[in-house]
Amino acid sequence: MTEASSAAGFTPAAADASAAILIEKLNLWYGDFQALLDVDLRVRAGAITSLIGPSGCGKTTLLRSVNRINERLGYVRTTGSIRLWGLDVLDPSVEVAQLRKQVGMVFQRPNPLLLSVRDNVLFGTRVHLPDGRPPNRVEGDRIVEEALRQVLLWDELKDSLDRRGTELSLEQQQKLCIARLLPVKPRLLLMDEPCSALDPAGTEAVEELIWKLRGDYTILIVTHNMAQARRASEECVFMLLGEIIEHSDTASMFLNPANDQTAAYIEGRYG
């Protein structure tokens, strides 16, 4: 295990670029149950990093710690530090609303709000008021078009912006859930198995979209799907029982895993 933990300290070749996320000695408890043990992680800015590991290994918990959405549960206790571009996320003085403006999140099941497509996209601007006021009609139109173009939905939906977001197909819903994050210009996108509720065609389309967003955003993505991790990410983190076992660039992890447990998981021997 000690050997494995040290693997977490692995520094990717391109780490010269400033780290987007720097996690140190992160421990997390749900009540009495410890879900994360001394997690250290450095996520490279502008890259797609995938978190893999068997169910219950803590990857979703780790993801949900970054924007502190975990705290909704009320019985979560966290120690250690999470820094986003130097900002100490866990500092009690941090306004979670401002934090979450920087950190968008995509959930396992598409969860558009019970509003029109347009209002879904504009929701962030109405909450955060980037210009100190909600966007007017013209600005709103521009923002909606831009965001929907970025997620490749504009052509499909430009005539049905008043439809409820919840009435779209699941693939469209998930793209909409990504689109609504963009107008407030987050720097980091957290994605929790974003394709698990989609059919193969939808999965492919959303993966394509994620790949397209690479570079503009730092993306941390949890996935159960080995092929997806391999196809759609540049770095890969393998977790087991609340610890990070191995962290390397995706190609080398899949070709040549450093740790036996990683190898076993990748080969499908458990998980």
């Binding site: 909704r72 819903q173 859930c177 509720a197 059919d199």
Partner: protein, 317 residues
Amino acid sequence: MSEVAHAADRRDAAWWIDRVVQILVLAGGLSAIVFIAGIFVFITREGAGFVFDRFDFREFFGSPRWTPTSSHNPTYGALALIAGTASVTGLAMVVSVPFSLGAAIYIGEFATGRVRETLKVLVELLAAIPSVVWGFIGLSIMNPLIIQTFDVPVGLNVLNAGVILGLMAAPIMTTIAEDALKAVPDTYREAAEAMGATRWQVTFKVVLPAARNGLVAATLLGVGRGFGETMAVLMASGHSINLPTSPFDSVRALTATIAAELGETAAGSDHYQALFTLGIFLFLVTFAINFAADVFVRGGQRKRRRRGRRPAASANP
């Protein structure tokens, strides 16, 4: 299912219990229909004589003169009674809608653990206070209080009855509104919170719009409760035939009129039938209100079901 039972030829105790329970439940369900139809038939029959022989539409809805026991010129104008009921119910809604929506939002969206449970129990306790006790509070506490505070001649008026009725309607409205908020899937809240919305923004921009139908239904049921309430209104409104022009006017409600007069009216007399005509009118109005509330609740459910089905269908081509 009896075909299935035949095919399997398995009529054991569980099968018989199932049959009996089904019949009992069916009887229970049908009895509700039988009762409601029976009540309507009874009220209509008792009031029919008046409706067909004596009923004058313009007098009933246009005149405030309700003098059924006049020795020489009985008149049956229900306008003042309708205005009394409407004004008291209206004020009650002004009192209870903010109060109960606020309580529901606090209990459903903000309070946690002990506080939440305690509040829920308290609200339900409020619902358990009998009507006559509320009336008594109106008569002996609110009346002098209103006289002193507003320097008006009498404290039995629209204000008194409206406040009392508002407090009476608040628990049921709170409970139903809270149910409506609870029915909003948590994923909406999570999504909005993850986008950086504050708790209040989540509530106001996401949860309340999503629960709108349920909240309208809660309000309508509160209106129905206010409309049908009798004893407390009888005691707190002043029971005075009046077209109210201010909250400090005494008024008389439809229900209170029936309650006060029916007991001492000879069965079959014009007065008796006129009271039943008021009853028919009340029945129709409360029926319409409850029906509207039901439509709203169902409207919400149907939409939600459709929303649930459509994406699933498109996910499995």
